[in-house]
């Protein structure tokens, strides 16, 4: 089995993995970081979004071995212990989550979106969320939270 080594939330992580192991499986099963979720099997729902070298990636779309040497950031590492990232704060403040299952992927997507597009408007946020499905909120408060966080981070 191939050995894969990467940095996850600032800490080195390596393991012997089956070649077919997906990055999301490595994160959830190998490292026990269960904040990253799996909501579909066709790379549509975005519950598994993490950052790979600073970019939002659906971690079900790449093999663990493809992340060799990469810097991975998951929801658990987004803010130092005891603190919250402005996007996390905005999701709570604006009730941008209900069951919480899509939330980690939404937040990781939003952080990347705000980094790439500092001048977000509602239409852009909605277009950018095309790859993240939420069944609870109707997106209304997710959009509100992302716009508020984007203002806050300006």
């Amino acid at each position: 089995m191939p050995v894969v080594a990467m940095t996850v939330n600032g800490k080195p992580a390596s393991a012997d993995v089956e070649a077919r192991m997906l990055l999301v499986q490595f994160i959830r099963e190998q490292l026990g970081l269960t904040g990253t979720h799996v909501g579909c099997d066709t790379s549509q729902c975005g519950a598994c979004v993490v950052h790979v070298d600073g970019r939002a990636v659906k971690s079900c779309t790449m093999l663990a071995t493809q992340a060799e040497g990469a810097e991975i950031l998951t929801i658990e590492g987004l803010a130092p212990d005891g603190d919250l990232h402005p996007v996390q704060k905005a999701f709570r403040e604006h009730h941008g989550l209900q069951c919480g299952f899509c939330t980690p992927g939404m937040i990781m997507t939003a952080v990347d979106m705000i980094r790439r597009k500092p001048d977000l408007d509602e239409e852009t946020v909605r277009e950018e969320l095309e790859g993240n499905i939420c069944r609870c909120t109707g997106y209304h408060n997710i959009v509100k939270a992302i716009l508020a966080a984007s203002q806050e981070m300006r």
């Binding site: 269960t34 909501g39 209900q98 919480g100 069944r135």
Partner: protein, 793 residues
């Protein structure tokens, strides 16, 4: 009350207690739990909609790497396990009970839908289990399948169950036929419409999952599962399936990632996992993937109806008659028989005074996944029918849609409808007026003209909905065929240090109970919310509960908490009276302090709590130590949330794409504990309603019975860019039948919105009807069909 306490009180938009764990990735969903020596299950499913199983050969698969065990229907039968049940019995109009085909956990000799469970492979890893399943040799004899609702009752249609001739499970009726016929005979106008209510696939974002364990030393089984009602799951698994006696089975529903009805039901997978855990002597985990969810989660809706509305010369409704064929799928699911009957027919009066109603519903089997409750459950189907009929009546009579509703609204309460329900309170015109104002109804013609100048078609549509929630008075549902009572339980445990645990039989899977329930308790006891912990979802902690569905947790679950709090307060006052040497009638409890009326004697909550447990000097005959009280609350009536949703759409005639320009929802939910959470519930409901109206459709191939919308690439889930932001408003009539005056808010959006959207689209296009989902293709075709050829050229 302190500032802090009033900021957390009833009616305040308190931020959610549960959010911290979800936004930091610290939730605990079933699939997040891993046990030492855990194995994985994978279910081999039928690729055929209907086939006889001649033989199953597992010998090769058993030799595959990592395989621990393989179970088929024979193993289940050998253990004499019962099948899955339907907990609601509906009778046909001739008095005979519904005709039920057996629902085995793993198929015995026949498979009845694509995705039906054939074998369970247990292996060291999920990959091993999945790979081994491909080595199982099932000798199928494929048979014709019955898929279409139009033809399933024909004499030559393939039978799903021999027990149910013509694939008919029941031929149910409700209302008064002779009165209805008489009213139609004297009507000056009869409006007729054929309506389809499209099949939906629930798609909670967390797929169903289960982790079954067996402790040999104690003989106790533990099942973690994605359930909206773990106690009901335990009851069914013990009393009907016979996995284990109730006291030897613990069911835990930890964080659950959405349900929308689909996680009420007891399915084959969790049943097999917990049963087989004892067989293999190791924990067994199953986590469904999305494809399995599409195939095997219970679907929703799927009705075919013909409706007729009789009116007098003034646009007053005289009578409604309805004939509906409701798809039940291949097997009856846990509550499926109740959905197209008592949750549907009973709401056909809508918000209107309709003197006579008669409805017939045929519940039919097809070779498709079971159909059961999905957000709204029966009430969206009723509302769609009523509001499409009312809109059509308005157009045919030339009366404005708002005006025809006003002429027919129920205005005095209580109001007994011809279809069981007794509406207790409401003000339907208030929500209509507020919604019309919010959308600037009067300005619509100008907006329509402006759109027309841009070559766009603009339409407006409304929906005045009502639903019956707060399920439900146990005696009422018992008389209608329910196998359970629909009360709720609560227990308030005051700790010696004054903080409080509240155990509830309700289950939160997104609704925010940890916040709203804590708001209630904190404001009642005058303590900060962080001193209140809401405990739910574990049969070892909570004695019993009926769970969360039917918008019942506020009206029923919180009422049980109120009842338990009443008892806590009564006992606490008794203790306070003893400690302060006063008469119990003189004790006042306010803002967390006990005082003796007319004196300066007082005792803070925390001190009383401690005293309750030190119990020093209690007169033992009068006061027991401790402070813990429980209550069961059985509602006295359903609750009746109601309101008006108005939708304005703009359609591009070149592409058929419908854009929702504005969506206004004005709802009367009675007392609102946390408006932020309630608004969130409405947003989510509307999104699912827009999904039904514009995007979503569960489609089976009519010949092969294959589910052709079996993934997110084929089944159109609403995405952020399909939806607008919503404009919400509230009106309020207090529900008289529960202590807080609450009505329930979880399903309103999904119930009210589809007819508002379809009314808007048909208004824009100037057509009588369009089938849901009104996809661009359907809208474009409707425009082509309605456009005279000359104009097109």
């Amino acid at each position: 009350m302190s500032d802090k306490a009033s900021g957390e009180g009833i009616g305040q938009p308190v931020r959610r207690k549960e959010d911290f764990r979800f936004i930091t990735g610290n939730g605990h969903y079933t699939d997040d739990i891993t046990r030492p020596r855990q194995t994985w299950a994978y279910f081999l499913r039928s690729p055929h909609a209907h086939a006889r199983i001649r033989a199953i050969d597992t010998s090769q698969a058993e030799q595959a790497p990592g395989v621990v065990a393989i179970f088929t229907g024979k193993h289940v039968a050998a253990d004499k396990l019962g099948g899955l049940i339907c907990g609601w019995t509906v009778s046909s109009k001739d008095g005979t009970p519904m005709k039920v085909g057996p629902h085995p956990i793993l198929a015995l000799d026949t498979v009845r839908y694509v995705g039906d469970h054939v074998a369970m492979v247990v292996a060291e890893t999920l990959a091993d289990a999945r790979a081994a399943s491909e080595l199982i040799d099932v000798d199928y004899e494929p048979l014709p399948a019955t898929i279409s609702l139009d033809t399933c009752q024909n004499g030559n249609a393939e039978q799903v169950h021999p027990e149910a001739p013509r694939n008919t499970c029941f031929e149910w009726e409700l209302g008064n036929k002779p009165e209805t016929e008489a009213a139609f005979a004297k009507a000056s106008r009869i409006v007729k419409l054929d309506l389809k209510n499209n099949r939906l696939i629930p798609n909670a974002m967390e797929p169903r999952a289960a982790l079954g364990e067996y402790d040999k030393g104690s003989g106790i089984y533990t099942l973690h599962t994605t359930s909206q009602n773990p106690h009901v799951a335990r009851l069914v698994l013990s009393a009907f399936v016979g996995v284990a006696p109730e006291h030897k089975l613990r069911v835990i529903a930890p964080d659950v990632g959405g349900g929308f009805g689909s996680k009420i039901f007891i399915y084959a997978e969790e049943t097999a996992c917990v049963w087989a855990a004892a067989k293999v002597g190791r924990p067994i985990k199953w986590t469904g993937d999305r494809s399995e969810a599409f195939l095997s989660d219970a679907h929703g809706r799927d009705h075919l109806s013909h409706a007729e509305l009789a009116l007098d010369g003034n646009g007053k409704f005289l009578a409604l008659r309805v004939k509906t064929i409701a798809n039940l799928g291949a097997y009856l699911s846990t509550f499926s028989a109740s959905v197209p009957t008592y949750l549907y027919g009973t709401l056909l009066s809508g918000q209107y005074d309709i003197p006579a109603i008669y409805v017939e519903v045929d519940g039919v089997y097809t070779h498709t996944a079971p159909v059961d409750a999905y957000r709204g459950a029966g009430r969206p189907e009723a509302t769609y029918l009523v509001e499409r009929m009312v809109e059509t009546a308005a157009r045919e009579t030339g009366i404005d849609p708002a005006e025809i509703r006003r002429r027919n609204y129920i205005r005095t309460f209580p109001h007994q409808t011809p279809v069981i329900m007794n509406y207790d309170a409401g003000d339907y015109e208030a929500s209509l007026d507020a919604a019309m104002k919010a959308i600037d109804y009067a300005g619509f013609p100008a907006r329509k003209s402006e759109a027309a100048r841009r070559g766009k078609l603009r339409g407006i549509g409304m929906s005045s909905y009502i639903e019956a929630c707060g399920l439900a008075p146990s005696a009422a549902v018992g008389s209608l065929g329910a196998g359970v009572g629909l009360w709720e339980s609560a227990e308030v445990r005051v700790n010696p240090t004054g903080n409080v645990e509240v155990l509830t039989g309700s289950h939160s899977h997104g609704q925010g109970h940890e916040t709203t329930f804590a708001q209630l308790v904190a404001s009642r006891l005058g303590i900060p919310m962080e001193q209140v912990e809401i405990v739910h979802g574990d049969t070892d902690k909570v004695q019993f509960g009926m769970g969360t569905y039917g918008s019942r947790s506020g009206a029923v679950g919180m009422s049980a908490i109120v009842k338990a709090l009443d008892k806590v307060e009564a006992k606490a006052k008794k203790i306070a009276a003893h400690l302060m040497e006063a008469a119990v009638e003189d004790i006042v409890f306010e803002n967390g302090t006990f005082t003796v009326q007319g004196t300066d004697k007082s005792l803070p909550w925390a001190q009383l709590a401690l005293s309750a447990y030190t119990a020093h000097g209690f007169p033992s005959a009068d006061i027991e130590p401790g402070l813990k009280e429980g209550a069961f609350y059985d509602p006295t009536n359903f609750t009746f949330p109601a309101g008006c949703h108005i939708c304005e759409v703009e359609i591009d005639p070149d592409t058929g794409i419908t854009r929702i320009e504005k969506f206004v929802a004005v709802d009367d939910f009675g007392t609102i504990v946390n408006p932020m959470i309630v608004e969130g519930q409405v947003h989510g409901g509307i999104a699912q309603g827009i999904g039904q109206a514009l995007l979503e459709h569960g489609i089976y191939d009519a010949e092969s019975g294959q589910l052709v919308t079996g993934s997110y690439m084929d089944y159109c889930m609403p995405r952020a860019d399909d939806l607008p932001s919503f404009t919400l408003g509230f009106t309020k009539t207090v529900c008289p039948s529960n202590p807080l005056g609450m009505k329930g808010c979880g399903e309103a959006g999904a119930i009210a919105s589809p007819p508002a959207i379809v009314n808007a689209i048909t208004d824009a296009l100037g057509i009588r009807d369009i089938e849901m989902p009104a996809t661009p293709a359907r809208v474009w075709s409707a425009i082509q069909a309605a456009t005279p050829r000359a104009a097109a050229e």
